[in-house]
């Protein structure tokens, strides 16, 4: 059963992407389209290249000196590796949520307000209040924190902190949100809340999530891409990948076999 018969617009395209860490060939000739308003899950064993690929999508790999990225990655058709690209602006359009919640040692309010402030998204305190409130609401955290916005963010639970990081990411109105194992440090209830949130967020954002949990990929994503030893082995609709994968390596990995 097709869930989205509507427009399948490609948000990000990757063509012939190769990544090297010094001489190590970490990602080999990857072609992948990320569709708008869908959740794409990247799965595969440790060291398969899935996080490397994720970090290529907002040029986080630029920060790693030994890392060399080749190939072509476009956001809405624009080459994100064009030297003229403003990295700060790029990362506002393509936000990121990390494995461990990493709130700034500031108040809950300031955590969310930080991005909009540096990007000049609010003209007044009233504007900012609204951005903070709506971001926290969208991240499903508003009800829990609305009476203590000035409290330190580090006082929140792990699950709340991760939702705060999501609020912080969406406060700058990105188009794409990259998530690198966003639930790996959370308990099942907090995980379920984040997963439900991811599902809601796809209406407004395009989401790419790296996960070690195959069940999570199955639960939250519409498309699943399986990486193995730097190769993109298979990409397809999530329901197909989990019921009828094409490649035996995918089959072996998702069903826990020694491949």
């Amino acid at each position: 059963m097709d869930m989205t018969p509507g427009d399948l617009v490609t948000k990000l395209t990757a063509r012939g992407v190769n990544v090297f860490y010094d001489d190590a060939h970490a990602l080999k000739q990857v072609d992948l389209d990320i569709r708008a308003h869908e959740v794409t899950a990247l799965i595969g064993p440790s060291g398969c290249g899935k996080s490397t690929f994720l970090r290529c999508l907002n040029r986080m790999n630029d920060l790693i000196e030994i890392c060399r990225v080749e190939g072509d990655i476009r956001l809405d058709g624009e080459d994100i590796y064009d030297p003229a690209v403003d990295l700060v602006y790029l990362r506002a359009r393509i936000g990121m949520v990390f494995q461990k919640p990493n709130p700034f040692p500031k108040s809950i309010y300031d955590n969310v307000a930080y991005g909009p402030k540096i990007h000049g998204l609010a003209r007044s305190r009233g504007d900012m209040d609204e951005i903070v409130a709506s971001s926290l609401e969208r991240a499903g955290l508003w009800e829990e924190v609305k009476d203590r916005l000035e409290a330190p963010a580090t006082g929140l639970s792990g699950g709340q902190q991760q939702r705060l990081c999501i609020a912080r990411a969406i406060a700058v109105r990105p188009e794409v949100i990259l998530m690198d194992e966003p639930c790996s440090s959370l308990d099942p209830i907090a995980t379920a809340r984040i997963e439900a949130l991811i599902d809601e967020l796809k209406q407004n954002f395009t989401i790419v999530v790296v996960t070690h949990s195959m069940q999570q990929a199955a639960r939250v994503s519409q498309r699943t891409a399986f990486f193995h030893l730097g190769d993109l082995v298979e990409v397809g609709d999530t329901d197909t990948v989990f019921t009828k994968p094409v490649d035996p390596r995918t089959e072996a990995y998702i069903s826990g076999r020694i491949g």
Binding site: T243, I254, S255
Partner: protein, 239 residues
């Protein structure tokens, strides 16, 4: 079983083997039940017939066991891909086998009624139809064990043979009934027996479909189970 690599959780491989073993056990029991039922009917052996009826409980118990075991595997192992398809196929196969068991029981139950009449030549035709059906069951169970989709395809071909047997039995029985109204009693019973055997053929092809599903992930649309006797009208004598 099959030549896929082992699971990292070896216990899961063991559980999938257990599932196959249970199905094989159930299949063997069903084969024996059907053979016994047809034998009882042919020989008018009511004692054997009663044993067959009583043993159907064992098949029902295995069906429930396979069902619960499968649910447990889904809940605890969260299987995907071929593993998931295999478990769902096993559940469906088990319920088809359970139905075949019921058919055998129904055939056995008619032994008593049929044995009170003088034997008819039709019982030989029933026996030969039963032989085809029994071969199909054996073939489909072997195909499942080997996960052999080609062997499963042969089972479909044989079902046409079963349908032809059924149509000719239908005509044969009608002829007997028209010849002599005293034949109506036993012939009606034998007609039900023939219909039961025809249904066994259909359940066997359902199982063959599950082999395709487990191995290839394909599900063919429900096959037409055309009963050629649906529109058969006995011709009025002298008409």
């Amino acid at each position: 079983m099959n030549d896929r690599a082992e699971h990292i959780h070896k216990a899961f491989d063991e559980e999938l083997r257990q599932l196959d073993n249970r199905l094989a056990e159930m299949g063997g029991l069903v084969e024996a039940q059907l053979a016994g039922a047809v034998e009882a009917l042919r020989r008018g052996n009511t004692e054997l017939a009663e044993q067959i009826v009583a043993r159907d409980k064992e098949i029902d118990a295995l069906d429930i066991e396979i069902d619960l075991f499968s649910v447990r595997l889904v809940a605890l192992r969260q299987p995907v891909a071929a593993d998931l398809r295999t478990i769902f196929a096993a559940i469906r196969i088990s319920s088809d086998l359970e139905r075949i068991g019921d058919m055998a029981k129904n055939i056995a139950r008619r032994t008593h009624a049929v044995s009170r009449f003088p034997p008819l030549a039709t019982t030989a035709s029933i026996a030969s139809m039963a032989r085809v059906v029994q071969t199909m069951i054996k073939q489909v169970l072997d195909a499942w064990t080997a996960r052999d989709t080609e062997a499963a395809a042969d089972v479909f071909a044989r079902d046409t043979e079963v349908d032809q047997h059924y149509a000719s039995l239908f005509r044969e029985l009608l002829t007997y009934m028209m010849e002599d109204p005293r034949n109506i009693g036993p012939c009606t019973h034998l007609l039900f027996v023939a219909k039961n055997l025809e249904r066994v053929g259909d359940h066997t092809t359902n199982i063959a479909e599950q082999i395709d599903y487990a191995v290839l992930g394909t599900r063919s649309a429900e096959r037409e189970t055309h009963d050629p006797t649906n529109s058969l009208v006995p011709e009025a004598e002298g008409g």
